[in-house]
């Protein structure tokens, strides 16, 4: 327990700022999760591993001398095909099945990805240095790495772009129709199989963008995927499916919570506190819902 943050209030500004910028990134990943959860009714445990894979794409661009910021364009393209391939291989067999089956299947994919990345890229913690520099605020007492600002802006651009795409394009309409009622959509001529594949691909592409941003702003490691899955799951259940402003707000809230937990409890409890928060939120939700049920009685 460290109470430094309450003695030096400027740290609160620092933590909040970091948290909000981080949270925007989380919200982008959570958006992908909400999309495929809503459309396919699948909870993808491998979500975080897709993020890390996207991060490695940016990292390899950095290694080969290309600016890693361009990873936000390359990573989603590659990841889209990874996502579609994954759908064709595994996910299409679990779409209509019991939710537990899909959780377990994606959990298997997650373990597989983790280990393959460990073989392919090594077990070192790496980052793609963007050399964007740092901005100092408030008399040099708050540091703001420009890369974080960049990642937040790119996340917002992609999120808005996707929302517009979902509203306007033909595929977007088909996806929304399938989400509302897959059978009716099928009857009306929507190729739901294709829609599912595209949805999973889009989700993977979003993960790719987020991953490239993670590689630029933080660090990546083959085993770091799972917390991202849990965070996005948490954000989606706080916000509720299909509530996009909610996803953004709860993403930022989670980011701020994490930064404060980092200062107060210490870094070693950071991931633990995220998982504990998940349990608490689910329990809170359960009691709230059971109250509602009692009214119905």
């Amino acid at each position: 327990m460290d109470l430094l943050i309450f003695q030096v209030p400027i740290l609160m500004v620092q933590a909040s700022l970091d948290g909000i910028l981080l949270g925007i990134l989380f919200a982008l990943i959570a958006y992908g999760m909400a999309l495929q959860w809503g459309v396919m009714n699948i909870i993808n445990i491998a979500q975080g591993d897709l993020v890390i894979l996207g991060g490695y794409i940016a990292y390899f661009m950095y290694l080969s001398g290309i600016h890693p910021a361009l990873g936000v364009i390359v990573a989603p393209v590659i990841m889209y095909f990874v996502g579609v391939g994954l759908y064709k291989l595994v996910i299409n067999k679990v779409v209509d099945r019991d939710l537990f089956i899909s959780i377990l299947a994606t959990f298997g994919i997650s373990i597989l990805f983790m280990q393959l990345m460990n073989f392919a890229f090594g077990a070192d913690v790496v980052l793609a240095n963007s050399e964007f520099g740092t901005t100092m605020l408030f008399n040099n007492s708050v540091t703001l790495p420009n890369s974080k600002l960049f990642s937040a802006i790119i996340s917002i651009i992609f999120a808005i772009g996707l929302v517009v795409y979902m509203k306007k394009s033909k595929l977007g309409r088909a996806i929304r129709a399938t989400a509302q009622n897959a059978r009716a959509a099928k009857i009306l001529g929507v190729d739901t199989e294709k829609v599912y594949a595209a949805t999973f691909g889009i989700n993977a592409a979003l993960c790719g963008v987020a991953g490239a941003l993670v590689a630029i702003t933080f660090t990546i490691h083959p085993y770091m995927g799972l917390p991202y899955t849990i965070r996005s799951f948490m954000i989606v259940i706080i916000a509720g499916l299909g509530n996009l402003p909610g996803v953004a707000v709860s993403g930022m809230g989670l980011g701020v919570f994490e930064e404060f937990a980092d200062y107060i409890l210490g870094t070693e409890f950071r991931i633990g506190s995220v998982f504990l928060l998940l349990v608490l939120i689910l329990v809170y939700r359960r009691f709230k819902l059971s109250k509602k049920r009692e009214y119905l009685k």
């Binding site: 909870i43 679990v94 939710l99 373990i111 597989l112 849990i230 998982f275 998940l278």
Partner: protein, 350 residues
Amino acid sequence: MKNNNIILYAAILIFGVLAPFMLPAFKVQLSILCILIVLALTWNIQGGEMGYNSFGNILFYGLGMYICASVQVGMFFPLSEWTESGGEKTFVHSPTQFFQGMAFGLLAAAIIPTMVAGLIGYAILGLRGHYFAICTFGLGVAAGEISGGIEIIGAGQGFTTPPFPETGNLESRGQFFYFLSFLVLVLTFVAVKSVYSTRFKLVLNAIRDNEDKAEAMGIQTMKYKIIGWMISAFFCGLAGGIMGGLVGYIDSTDVAFDGREMGVFMVLMAILGGKGTLWGPVIGATLFHLFKEGFWTYFLGWQYVALGVLIVVIVIYFPEGLMGWLREKYPERFGEVVDEADRKAQVELK
């Protein structure tokens, strides 16, 4: 039929007792097999029979492991100094102290997780479906992360459990742990089997099939769910306590709250054998252990890749497990009444 069963049980019991003398080189493997079967059986109580697919039973296993070791050390020596210095060098358990500590440790390792399950059960078991799965998963990971930050039980550097006292006989350590785990296995099997022959099991199945209807029929589902989970936790904790002594070293995320290995294994074993059956988890665990040891030995490094593929394959192509497959093939053997005409009609339809 009844006679056959008795012969089968007797054969297994005799094999179990003689195994360490017949296969002295595999004592540790056999002990681990016993523990794995116990874990699969306990998981099956709420995963298979109750329909509550928990990824978090590793919580009780890890708790049991830490508690057993802590009690065993803490009864005789200061715990914080032990973990700080890798204490086994400065403090030595005499044989009496070791066995006394182990006995009390296992007792605590069974009781405390059961109490924990009872305490959190009301909150957690109210969740349904995937919310329950993810929530328990979160519990397991959170426990691992948090215990990795607590100094008194060794934090990140791990906790060495008391070494087995020198008795002059090199075989005795392996034999002791083997018989301990075999005893727990027999206890678990008998307990689970007797539980499954009561009304309790029917209630659990009713909850699995349709919880709202079960509640409407006047069953206090919450009470049964909590009791089911507590039974699970009891044996999970025992298994964890023994495994801690067997491995000799406890690390928060790699040994105790090892969601990536044990946590998945117990689910996988139960599914492989066929969840919701008595023998399924036993068979599944045995097969899985054979497969795992083969892979872990000959393809070292690729074991998690194999595990990932195995999970996907089992879940997609084999979700009913071995017992489920057998049941579909030979329904008569499972005491189901088969209408021959109906069966013939089905075959013709195909």
